[in-house]
């Protein structure tokens, strides 16, 4: 059966080549497109993953775009029908992929500047795409600081990579948890407790932040207080999505669509949108 017409609703096949647990509920999945092509995505973009019979859902791409490898990664928390089905897929299974969709972090604007990456909870997943891109092109960028907040130590993901990065000394890595356990020796408190500790030159810094809805307001206020210009702050906003093509209406944020005008937004473009933050 060959498709005779192109439809933007029809996914392309991709194969699950690897999966590994990152925490109790979060799993890392690696895919390769069956057509042998590189996904050629940009940091911050997302794909729609289909498990036929169950449904389709949007997932941020967690890997940086890499010309030399066609493997791309997503990291997913099990919470609904599609994510649950995904968690049960054996390696080697095929899924459907659409995309990449959406806007990306404007890395060309970050060139020569410092970047402050603020990742709350699962927000680290898409932030990682940007971070790894910057690490692969390290010379182009100034100082990089990564702030990571999670609810409890058990919720931390990519711990090995993050610890290696912290030890490396090149990138400033600050972590915090809301609720510590007996073994936690690091910072305790919400992510806003980390900002004062970061080495940031406000005049020279771009901020990229992704986290749960409640986080944005507070971190934005702090950035303003630190003197970081609003047009240098980038957020990624998550919304329920269905078509990914700006037609179905689900992801509308006031006059914008999160799937086409976002998910990455410059803060000044959305600061007056009441539905955004």
């Amino acid at each position: 059966m060959k498709s005779r017409t192109f439809s933007p609703y029809v996914p392309r096949p991709a194969t699950l080549v690897s999966k590994s647990p990152l925490s109790d509920l979060v799993t890392l999945y690696e895919f390769v497109q069956d057509n042998g092509k590189n996904l050629a995505h940009k940091p911050g973009q997302f794909i729609m993953v289909s498990i036929y019979g169950v449904g389709e859902a949007p997932f941020s791409i967690s890997s940086a775009p890499i010309k030399e490898s066609n493997v791309f990664e997503i990291a997913v928390r099990k919470i609904g029908a599609v994510t649950k089905a995904l968690s049960e897929l054996p390696v080697g299974t095929k899924v459907g992929i659409r995309g990449p969709f959406g806007t990306s972090f404007p890395v060309h604007e970050f060139v020569g500047k410092d970047t402050l990456l603020v990742a709350g909870g699962l927000g680290y997943i898409p932030i990682r795409s940007l971070l790894h891109y910057q690490l692969r092109h390290r010379q182009e960028f100034g100082r990089i600081s990564v702030l990571i907040g999670t609810r409890t130590p058990k919720d931390r993901i990519f711990t090995d990579q993050i610890e290696a990065l912290a030890k490396g000394g090149d990138v400033e890595v600050l972590e915090t948890v809301d609720m510590p356990d007996a073994d936690w020796k690091g910072n305790v408190g919400v992510i806003t407790t980390l900002l004062p500790k970061a080495r940031v030159e406000p005049q020279n810094t771009h901020v990229a932040m992704i986290g749960p809805p409640v986080m944005y307001k507070f971190v934005l206020r702090q950035c303003r207080e630190m003197g970081i210009a609003s047009d240098r702050i980038w957020v990624s906003l998550e919304r329920r999505m269905k078509c990914g093509l700006g037609k179905c209406g689900h992801c509308q944020i006031n006059s914008l669509n999160a799937c086409m005008d976002g998910p990455v937004f410059r803060y000044t473009d959305i600061e007056r949108l009441e539905e955004a933050i």
Binding site: P13, G96, K247, G249
Partner: protein, 372 residues
């Protein structure tokens, strides 16, 4: 090439029968107080005595349920999705009203935004559906198309505009396709080109009907509705107006407005399976539903009815004009006015919105307000 043509009213069913060659033709049909566009039945003939269809004709271009693709759930072909082939049936909708045609023109902008995301089903259906509209001689009390940039005899979106002159029908082609259609009809049924004195009389009668219809609407308590003030205010200002809770108070969140509306285009996508195969369908959806914006995590950016009601009106009167070069997202067909179970009148809302926008303080308000 033909100009407008005049046909005897008695010959109209023959014209439509002529158009039925190779096409499925739908005409307004009333049964039990309910008007729909139903297949033309030569036996039953054709009545031009109707207001508008109860539900909009958008289902002809944007079906309520539509298969997007099919797949197998197991075996070798699992994860190979095949696009559902587009239909090939040619259709002709006779008697749709100018407001509904204007809605199709509006939805073209939604479904065909750019080359990568053009909706193939919309394009296919649009291309094989000819629209012959009938101008309204007696607009309904709930109609307000003139305030929304359309009009009772407006040709936008139509291939042919028909005017019911009583004993005669004037058919005016709007597009090349309409001209070809007219030529088809004229080759089978005797028609008179609307030229010279004979034509002038008919054109004059049609113009009179149009002017009279527009005059009826101008006498409505809602004549003079305008989106001017809404357009001038920022969306933040409009969003923050204090009018929304009162407007939303009686709303049942039933979604009938979105269902009947010719410009509402939101949809849901679901997979259905039976045994080893399945299909992915899209169904009409409504922003009136709590589920519409609910995340899997349970978070909902529009958690209560006020947000959803505000969304509907702002989408039609603020966001769509912003994104579509000033065109309102409403065509004034009046269906929601007639069918809302709690009689929420969109014209009242628009008037309230207009007054509130005029009265709201200038947008250069102190920075502190903007920051909160």
């Amino acid at each position: 090439m033909y100009d407008a043509m005049i046909f005897s009213r008695l010959d109209l069913p023959r014209v439509i029968a002529a158009w039925s060659a190779g096409r499925a033709v739908y005409v307004p049909t009333t049964a039990g107080g309910n008007t729909t566009l139903a297949p033309f039945d030569p036996e039953r003939g054709l009545s031009l005595d109707y207001g508008n269809t109860t539900l909009s004709p958008k289902a002809f271009l944007f079906p309520q349920t539509e298969c997007l693709l099919r797949f197998a759930t197991c075996g070798q072909d699992a994860a190979l999705a095949v696009a559902e082939p587009q239909g090939t049936q040619k259709r002709l909708l006779f008697g749709i009203r100018p407001c509904d045609a204007a809605a199709f023109a509006l939805l073209d902008a939604v479904f065909c935004q750019d080359a990568h995301s053009t909706d193939p089903s919309w394009v296919s259906r649009r291309e094989r559906t000819i629209l012959v509209g009938l101008g309204c001689n007696t607009p309904d009390a709930a109609c307000f198309c003139t305030a929304m940039g359309s009009g009772p005899h407006h040709p936008r979106g139509l291939d042919i505009l028909a005017a019911d002159l009583g004993d005669e029908v004037l058919l005016t082609p709007v597009t090349d396709r309409g001209r070809a259609l007219l030529a088809e009809a004229a080759s089978i049924v005797p028609g008179i080109p609307a030229r010279g004195e004979r034509g002038g009389t008919a054109l004059g009668r049609a113009a009179t009907l149009r002017i009279n219809a527009e005059a009826v609407m101008a006498r409505s308590p809602f004549a003079g509705l305008t989106l001017e003030a809404v357009a001038r205010r920022s969306q933040r200002t409009v969003h923050a107006l204090g009018i929304w809770p009162a407007i939303a108070e009686t709303c049942l969140n039933c979604g009938v407005c979105t269902f009947a509306c010719p410009t509402c285009h939101c949809f849901d996508i679901q997979d259905e399976t039976k045994g080893a195969s399945g299909r992915r369908v899209r169904n009409w959806d409504t922003c009136m539903s709590w589920l519409f914006t609910a995340h899997a995590s349970g978070h909902n950016p529009r958690p209560t009815k006020v947000e959803r009601v505000r969304q509907r009106f702002m989408h039609k009167f603020k966001y769509m004009p912003m994104n579509l070069g000033g065109r309102p997202g409403c065509v004034g067909c009046g269906r929601c006015v007639r069918q809302c179970p709690v009689n929420i009148d969109i014209r009242e809302v628009l008037r309230t919105l207009d007054m509130a926008c005029r009265a709201a303080p200038p947008s250069g308000a102190p920075r502190a307000e903007a920051d909160s």
